[in-house]
Symmetry: C2
Subunit: 292 residues, 2 copies
């Protein structure tokens, strides 16, 4: 599966066929998104969630999107070592993916990898991102059930709203709940969520201590409750919307690539030079190149 | 100027002309980017940097990109109240911009607003973002001099690398330097930066306590040193690269918009339905729609 994902990611010969076949084989899994700022304990929590699923006899795939390090040129996989306990377990598949450097962007690479994982027939799929970038938020928001991870004292209400994460969370996890300030964070969160006025589903707030595994069972309970709340109809409606969004993204990426080629041809090159010199503004030049 | 930026942002009638005229009038200012996670004290620091510039008799424009709140639909401007001291100062212009909801994206809206501000003839322009999203990083990276703001204990070295901010910083500011852990954070940062092996410019690390203004003079010193390091040649080279990137972004946005229109026409609509049902995978459909 790892090799197949690489083939599909890199988009060389056979990639389109492989993807098409994976898509036909895919059995939609319950997709669970996890997101939060760096250092909130996402990886440790993921680790415990995997154990929880395995204890119930479920198989589970994990796609962990790692912010790309400017130094290594690849993903920083430091945290992944914690997940090595599962390395020999055939019911677990863990894949890291760099957040940058994909043809068509992360918003295309991640859904493709997820389709390949679904062809593997897992019961659950976890998608983990440092969900602040637009692409990362897009990827994690496309999950059926989204967990937003916070820590006590992470920031006051305004900061939470600023990060724009309140809207995407179906479940909020306050991790490191043994630290001071947990009451305030939970209370803050509760009042912010009350303001948002989501009527159909009131996002539960779960307190966890991921280092010891405390609260992870409650997190799974909340995930299950959300899945039941969605029901088959809700899940399918979400999938339809997701597929349509994936199509838009993919189409945009293809056309974008072609537009950029236009910069290389003769007329393009002259305009580019004029823009670089500062003689023409970039937006007028873009209008002209796009033939508007 | 505020009205002109709104016209240019909203892209209605006259927007292209207004922008073209602003571009002709614009006198390139020294653009200074500030970025850091929520809560590190960017706004307070900006406030002090403004005061510092004004004390030297310089005029200054500020573009503050605010993550869009999912509740209000607009930017969360809570922190901006701190800047009200400058509201009556004609040598200061402060503009907030939401991070989402712009035609062509933030990567197009922000540079346009900056051109309008440059037409206003400011000596310095500050650009402030919560620089984690791809668009936000792009916007702030396009500044001539980029300040990355951290706080003590913000995260260990791996986390700093994960956030991908080390590469974009010309100057690192450890704010809230009266808090415990400042030594470790600075040491960590120094060793990470040493690893990066930037030869021409060794990014200085400045400690500040923005609440009291301590260290802000040193931050301005560092900014000035970086500007001297760049020199006129370096500044112009950076501007050329920036204009070219702005053209690529603008062209891509225009063509993207047109591609999405293709989804609405007949053939498009059928394919969209097939994708939504799960009969066709989004990427094969996108290839077909793009005519590849």
């Amino acid at each position: 599966m790892a090799r197949l994902i690489t083939v599909v990611e890199e988009g060389g010969a056979g990639a389109a066929d492989a993807l098409r076949r994976a898509f036909e084989e895919a059995r939609p899994a319950h997709r669970i998104g996890l997101t939060g700022a760096p250092g909130v304990g996402k990886s440790t929590l993921t680790d415990h969630l995997i154990t929880g699923a395995r204890d119930r006899g479920e198989t589970i795939g994990v796609l962990a999107v790692d912010p790309t390090s400017p130094f290594s040129g690849g993903a920083v996989l430091g945290d992944r070592v914690r997940m090595q306990d599962h390395a020999l377990d055939e019911g677990v598949f863990i894949r890291s993916m760099a957040s940058r450097g994909h043809l068509g962007g992360l918003s295309e690479a991640a859904p493709k990898a997820l389709v390949v994982m679904e062809a593997g027939g897992f019961d659950r799929i976890l998608i983990e991102t440092v969900g602040v970038g637009q692409d990362e938020v897009e990827v994690v928001s496309a999950a059926d059930t989204v967990l937003v991870i916070l820590t006590p004292g992470w920031g006051d209400g305004v900061q939470a709203a600023k990060a724009g994460i309140l809207e995407i969370g179906d479940i909020f996890v306050v991790n490191k709940a043994d630290r001071p300030g947990v009451r305030d964070t939970v209370a803050d969160l509760r009042s912010m969520l009350a303001l948002s006025g989501k009527l159909e589903w009131e996002p539960p707030i779960v307190e966890t201590i991921a280092s010891s595994g405390e609260g992870v069972a409650e997190a799974w309970d909340a995930i299950e409750r959300h899945r039941s709340h969605l029901g088959d109809t809700g899940l399918e409606a979400g999938r339809r919307a997701r597929r349509r969004a994936e199509l838009s993204t993919a189409l945009a990426a293809r056309v974008r690539a072609r537009a950029l080629e236009a910069l290389e041809v003769d007329t393009g090159a002259d305009l580019v030079e004029a823009v670089e010199r500062g003689d023409t503004d970039p937006w007028t030049a873009a209008d002209r190149l796009a033939g508007i």
